[in-house]
């Protein structure tokens, strides 16, 4: 289980996280929702130790990530996989090398075994035969699938998705949603998804947490959100702008 306790993060004069506390259950899909610019990506990167919080604790099975040295954090990060917002594929490598990268760096497998695993993962995300293509030759959805294949290579226990469906058409969005659910079931992962897509969230989430003004406004199962009396949550779920909102 992952637990965030009063996480605070400030960039210059701007306070992004103002005391976030959240429990993330093991083996379930937790979706963190919130408006654009609320700090969801900062939260997910903080959770993995990519950004050091100014205050608070990140407990992973009881061990505080913030109190660890850089080398200890690197060891803990081996338990994580992350799919970045724009997939963050290495643009100097082809798809095959991108997906093989974690294995080449962290295992002693020979090239034949690595390539077999790469092809297996690419087939699992529906991308058989694209190994020789460069990331620039792929569509947004394909890049995200390659990113997911790469994130799964070291068989992580926890996987983080940073806005996996942003910028995709409805059909691709649905296929990525299905992929997240299938991956979670197939590998029995703890999945944490950052999103502002309500339809996707309601489809896949076991637990939803809403980040608003630097804090968790509400958390719980999807049904609790749908029945929430909080006017902001209802406004967010309905996707309605304030009358005077122009930006």
């Amino acid at each position: 289980m992952i637990e965030l306790q009063n996480i605070e993060k400030r960039f210059g004069s701007q306070a992004v996280l103002k005391g976030v506390s959240l429990q993330i259950p093991k083996g379930a899909i937790t979706v963190i929702i919130g408006r654009s610019g609320e700090g969801k990506s900062v939260l997910i990167k903080t959770l993995m130790g990519l950004i050091r919080p100014d205050a608070g604790k990140i407990l992973i099975d009881g061990a505080n990530l913030c109190a660890m040295s850089a080398l200890e954090q690197m060891k803990v990060r081996r338990r994580f996989g992350m799919l970045f917002q724009n997939a963050a594929l290495f643009d100097s490598m082809n798809v095959e090398d991108n997906v093989a990268f974690p294995l080449r760096e962290h295992t002693a497998l020979d090239e034949e075994e690595i390539l077999a695993k790469v092809n297996e993962r690419l087939a699992q995300v529906g991308l058989k035969g694209v190994g020789q293509k460069m990331p620039s030759d792929l569509s947004g959805g394909m890049r995200k699938r390659v990113g997911l294949a790469r994130a799964l290579m070291l068989e992580p226990e926890i996987i983080l998705y940073d806005e996996p469906t942003t910028g995709l058409d409805p059909i691709l969005t649905d296929s990525i949603d299905n992929l997240i659910v299938d991956t979670q079931k197939g590998f029995n992962l703890t999945s944490i998804v950052v999103s502002h897509d309500i339809a996707s969230t309601l489809k896949m989430a076991n637990k939803i947490a809403m980040l608003h003004e630097g804090k968790i406004l509400e958390e719980g199962p999807p049904q609790k959100f749908l029945e929430s009396k909080n006017p902001f949550i209802q406004q967010f779920l309905a996707g309605k702008a304030d009358k005077d909102f122009i930006g």
């Binding site: 060891k75 994580f80 992350m82 970045f84 917002q85 963050a88 290495f90 643009d91 974690p102 962290h106």
Partner: protein
């Protein structure tokens, strides 16, 4: 006293404004310098404790070294040729044309070869390093490395710094060879300086210590310019504009550092290798 000074500054806000205007850039400069030193210490630390990425190292050695040979040879050749031409016409006044070879040899090995080579590496490889690491930074590829438990300094910076530190002295050697050939060609075939005295003076006056000085300079220049370029790339923010700024800063800071450092190194090396 302090209380009085505070009151005085509050009454005369223009003094405070001007002090702030002067102080802010100074603070930024010292903060930047401190950050650079922390970065350098981190690089040195990862050289010793990190996994050595041999594949990346050889790739960088090829990019920095092999792919620069042609341009370094060309610049070295013409630097030697023009230096021989100028010293030849100047020495003719004193009937001392036979000193052309040794003068060009000393100037090339001690100064021209390390400085020109390092400047070319800054322009060619330093800018590429800053742009490459900077782009990886703004497109979250550096975060992706960290998410895979790979330290980006160990993976991206250490191989580039080691490769540049190895390759610049070797390129200094290439520059020297090309420059000497260029000066020999111009002196013997164009200025018609007799070959015997030209070579004899060269052998008498140019010593291995002159080449050692150039190689030591090349080693240090390679180390420092690659650190600057990687640092600028590693600290890139603000998308494409930031990458452009980082690249320019890497080239400007690297070039200026070479020229300033060269003076102090020359002073130090002349004490170690006195004439």
């Amino acid at each position: 006293m302090i209380h009085w000074l505070e009151n005085y500054l509050q009454r005369n806000s223009w003094i405070q404004d001007n002090l702030q205007r002067l102080g802010n850039p100074l603070m930024d400069a010292f903060t930047g310098l401190g950050d650079f030193f922390i970065f350098c210490l981190s690089v040195v630390k990862w050289v010793f404790i990190g996994t050595f990425h041999v594949r990346v190292l050889f790739k960088e050695m090829q990019k920095i070294g092999l792919q620069s040979i042609l341009i370094v040879t060309l610049v070295g050749l013409f630097a030697g040729m023009v230096f021989a031409l100028q010293t030849g016409s100047a020495f003719k006044v004193f009937n001392a044309e036979s000193l052309v070879g040794s003068t060009v040899g000393i100037a090339l090995s001690r100064e021209l070869a390390p400085v020109f080579t390092a400047l070319m590496i800054v322009a060619r490889a330093g800018s590429a390093m800053a742009a490459e690491i900077g782009t990886m930074n703004v497109t979250e590829q550096v975060d992706a490395l960290r998410s895979m438990s790979i330290n980006p300094i160990n993976y991206l910076v250490v191989p580039r710094v080691v490769a540049t530190t190895i390759m610049v002295p070797l390129l200094v050697g290439v520059f020297n060879a090309a420059g000497l050939y260029g000066s020999y060609t111009v002196a013997i075939h164009l200025l018609a300086i007799p070959e015997g005295p030209y070579l004899a003076r060269y052998h008498t006056l140019v010593e291995p210590a002159d080449f050692y000085q150039g190689l030591i300079k090349g080693l240090l220049f390679g180390f420092i310019v690659s650190l600057i370029a990687c640092y600028k790339g590693y600290r890139t923010t603000n998308g494409a504009e930031g990458v452009g700024r980082a690249t320019t800063q890497a080239v400007v800071a690297g070039s200026v550092t070479i020229l300033i450092l060269n003076y102090f190194l020359a002073t130090w090396l002349l004490q170690i290798f006195p004439n």
